[in-house]
Symmetry: none
Subunit: 175 residues, 4 copies
DNA sequence: TATGAATGAGACTTCATTCAT
DNA sequence: CATGAATGAAGTCTCATTCAT
């Protein structure tokens, strides 16, 4: 990956996350990256290819984040880590952008990356089982749904105080 | 509102909800509405004006839905009604479209229609207070967040079984 | 067909015939037609659509020309008319352009519009039969081939004197 | 001429002949030649230079083919050789490509390589004179024209059976 | 000699919007 | 009120060509 390729990716990530995929023109990306527009197409074939490249990078990042959660042996710790996921994310602007993009893309293209969640879901079910919850699968589903809502608010609602909700959740789940 | 105006609104609502605002051209709207493209501009000034008109209609609908919830005197009943909100919605394709559009717009334009939620939030806090929950505001917030997540999954996830989660929630809140 | 549509067709015909299909940009066409570039796409969908429209017009013209030949009952007269085909064509600049375009397209897209020639071929075979030639089909084929060569030279060779060859041919076929 | 230069020429010849000059990008040529795009420009200055080089090579080939015809002392034999020209050509894919290219170029750039034909024309006139034809020059012209048509059909018409026409011609000219 | 990243002009196309009818 | 022809700006993409390595 050359320096300019990275500049393109960075610029595109920012813009796609800020303004959405459709609303971001390749010329805007090129301008922000300080690069000729043609170069985008040389490296990524077309606008979709650029998006794919970014999404793939995001998936790598997500994998790393998720791995730490999924592989946690202690069930309480696992749930805590999952609940605190966005705290980790919110400390890194690029990570925020990746998540923003993931969600924006979901809505723009109506794809709910279900398979990515399977691992987390399995781990949560397992954790709730270990903790002797009565309906582990439904508890897992509920928490996943809740986190979707949390992400929505975290990204869209300016004054949303995430930490308060997270603390409350940890209390609820006693983690 | 003339017949053609309504046709335009209906067509635009469908298309905006299906494909997003940016991705829907005014010519597509005109075609689906069976109307000349110029007419859209005569009635709604520009594409944004069309969107505004639709959003306003959506708000009217939402108000009606919300009123029934907010004005419910029995706290348990109120919470139940709120939790079952999407069951009502899911029975009417036009209502689904309105909600889909609301969410798509949120994400495309990064506007989280906070004020619309204030009334519901107040009502929920009040209900949780009456039911002697320890942290009524945080409970309200949590439920609101959860419903955002539920909406996300309901709209985006093909095989998502909403009713199961709703039953589980009602059990949790004993409503 | 509106006035501007006709202007587009005329301009495109000239340019495609002069410079070839690929080498003619839609913006050139628009400029020569005195029309906005977008209008081309409104009326003809895309550049190929414009070409198709022109080709279709050319086919109409060709049909008219060919009908007069094919329907000729007198075999000598039929052959004479066919041989003199290009004299007719050469009197009308638009007709010349159509033929030029037909041939250019043949070479650019490697399509030899065989079916168009079937009627002429049949008529020629018939004529040669009536005139008791020994190999009517081969005679017809030869004459068709010769006319392809004549067209090539007529269009490409600046100083080619068509009339001389035509006279010589008429003499050969005693028509 | 280095090995890579030859690869470029071969690739370009194929592509120009198949798809035309304008429609073939230098990057396609580079890809088919298995060579970097820049190398084309180092060796041939620009795309036109590449075309020139190919045309020059084609002329060399043509000269060799034509020499054998032009230098033939026996007039009947000369005419026969000329008529059978394409049989020789059709046995060698590269030769076919050269001819295809020659014709495509003619049409794309509207150049009728007249001077190349002068030698053949002179030889044919001479042959027809020796054979006591009444109008040797016109006979020569006719045969040249016919061969243009034959080439057209040979290259463009999929199911054209050249040999049949050639046999018929040889019969006609008693060669 | 050879590569391949990089450019900039220009290609085709879409689209919101205007306007004469 | 309604149409649909027309526009112009902007969008995605291609391509010949240059240049540092």
């Amino acid at each position: 990956m050359t320096e300019k390729q990275e500049k393109i990716i960075t610029a595109a990530l920012e813009l796609f996350a800020e303004e959405g995929y459709r609303s971001t023109s390749t010329s805007k990306v090129a301008k922000r990256a300080g690069v000729s527009e043609g170069l985008i197409f040389r490296h990524f074939t077309n606008k979709d290819g650029l998006l794919d490249a970014i999404i793939k990078m995001g998936e790598e990042q997500a994998k790393a984040l998720f791995a730490d959660i999924v592989l946690e042996p202690d069930p309480k710790e696992l749930i805590r880590k999952y609940i605190e996921l966005f705290i980790t994310v919110s400390k890194d602007q690029e990570a925020i952008n990746f998540w923003k993009l993931q969600f924006k893309i979901k809505w723009e293209l109506e794809i709910y990356g279900e398979h990515k969640m399977e691992a987390i879901k399995g781990a949560l079910i397992n954790a709730f089982e270990k903790l002797r919850y009565n309906h582990p699968e439904q508890e897992a589903n509920l928490l996943l749904t809740l986190m979707d809502g949390l992400a929505t608010r975290f990204i869209l609602q300016q004054q949303f105080d995430m930490s308060e909700t997270i603390e409350f959740l940890k209390q609820k789940y006693k983690v």
